[in-house]
């Protein structure tokens, strides 16, 4: 029998199986915690930092990523405080400035409440979320690609930038990459990068009920777990 623990998220008591992450437990109950690097059923590395929550221990709140935080009995989590929202907005702003050329990134920026981008746009084609690395090592156990270098030189690469013998050309890394989702108005040219913001009106409903999943269209864009799992459940009931 699966052992269950009771945790408290935003004042709501939730029962979750032991060993699951706070993010998974929250999503199961329809609490919206925006996330990007998380891929269902795979181990999380906490790379994108979007799923941050406040974890209250002995009256002191600690900010941490909910995807790498495992549920414990009596845990108190605040997922939607002013502080968390502000930090999350700033992180989303940095990500969209780094790589604006993707619908997934634009959507998550809108979902996190980014209204303007104060940083210069870089038009990079990777945000180092590590989804490709996770899917390659986790689901297929191949390790054909990995993180290489460090700091500003960090990138995803095959060893020595040659085609790896281990790669089976399955294409899973491309399927999960948020950068492969083209912006609605087509790819942005260098010098024309901007915050799309066209979906902002869709956010009105979400803003009225903060912290709850309202099945916003944006979730589909950034491959929110609710959508990927929802679609799968429909396909294989």
């Amino acid at each position: 029998m699966v052992q269950k623990v009771t945790i408290n998220i935003d004042g709501m008591s939730i029962r979750a199986p032991k060993g699951t992450s706070v993010l998974d437990a929250a999503l199961e109950y329809g609490i919206c915690i925006p996330h990007l690097c998380h891929v269902p059923y795979l181990s999380d590395i906490g790379a994108c930092r979007l799923c941050i929550v406040e974890h209250v221990v002995n009256g002191r709140a600690k900010i941490t990523t909910s995807c790498t935080l495992l549920v414990e009995e009596g845990m108190v989590i605040l997922s939607n405080t002013e502080k968390v929202r502000k930090l999350r907005r700033n992180i989303a702003e940095l990500i969209v400035a780094e790589a604006p050329n993707s619908r997934a990134i634009q959507d998550i920026a809108i979902r996190c409440g980014v209204k303007e981008v104060r940083y210069p746009f870089r038009n990079n084609d990777c945000i180092l979320c590590g989804r490709c690395v996770q899917v390659c090592t986790g689901r297929y156990g191949v390790k054909a690609i990995g993180f290489v270098g460090r700091g500003k030189d960090r990138r995803v690469e095959t060893p020595f930038n040659l085609h790896s013998d281990l790669c089976r050309n399955c294409g899973a890394c491309i399927d999960v990459c948020p950068m492969t989702v083209v912006p609605c108005d087509g790819p942005m040219k260098v010098g024309e990068e901007r915050l799309c913001g066209k979906c902002e009106p869709k956010m009105a409903f979400a803003e009225e009920t903060p912290g709850f999943c309202v099945w916003c269209d944006l979730g589909e864009g950034f491959q929110c777990e609710r959508y990927t799992l929802g679609v799968r459940n429909q396909a294989y009931p």
Binding site: K143, A144, I145, G146, F147, V148, G149, R150, E157, T158, P159, F160, S164, L166
Partner: protein, 160 residues
Amino acid sequence: MTDLKLASILEGRRSQPHQLIEVLQDVQERYGYVSEEAMRGVSRELGVPLTEVYGVASFYKAFSLKPRGKNIITVCTGTACHVRGSKMILNQATGQLGVSPGEMTKDGLFTIEHVNCIGACALGPVVTENGSCHHHMNPGMMRKLIESLGDRSPEDFSHG
């Protein structure tokens, strides 16, 4: 020959993935750098995916992926050394040898590197040459140092 060296490094450590960094350190010490060939060998013998070996080797600055010269000259460009003119020393070295920092000279005698701080700020500007430290350097002393090292016959070097 190469394989013999690698085999002696790997002796007693085969199929132990946690020994990866120690093995790479020994490879670095023995060869002066970590070659693609060595990484493939280490990956095969330790049972660690090549991606992981490459990731670790490229992550740590202690590992060099390119061949390095017999003499490794490291110029400190930390704050204290910088304000005392370490840039001029670096320019002197790179100009004299005709290479940019991190590169090896064509004859394989020198590699010029710069680091952010070696922790001897009171003695700055500091230059280390094959592990020994030269304090209160200036471009003139740098020129003489390179000249004296270049004059030594290659047999004097115990490296490699």
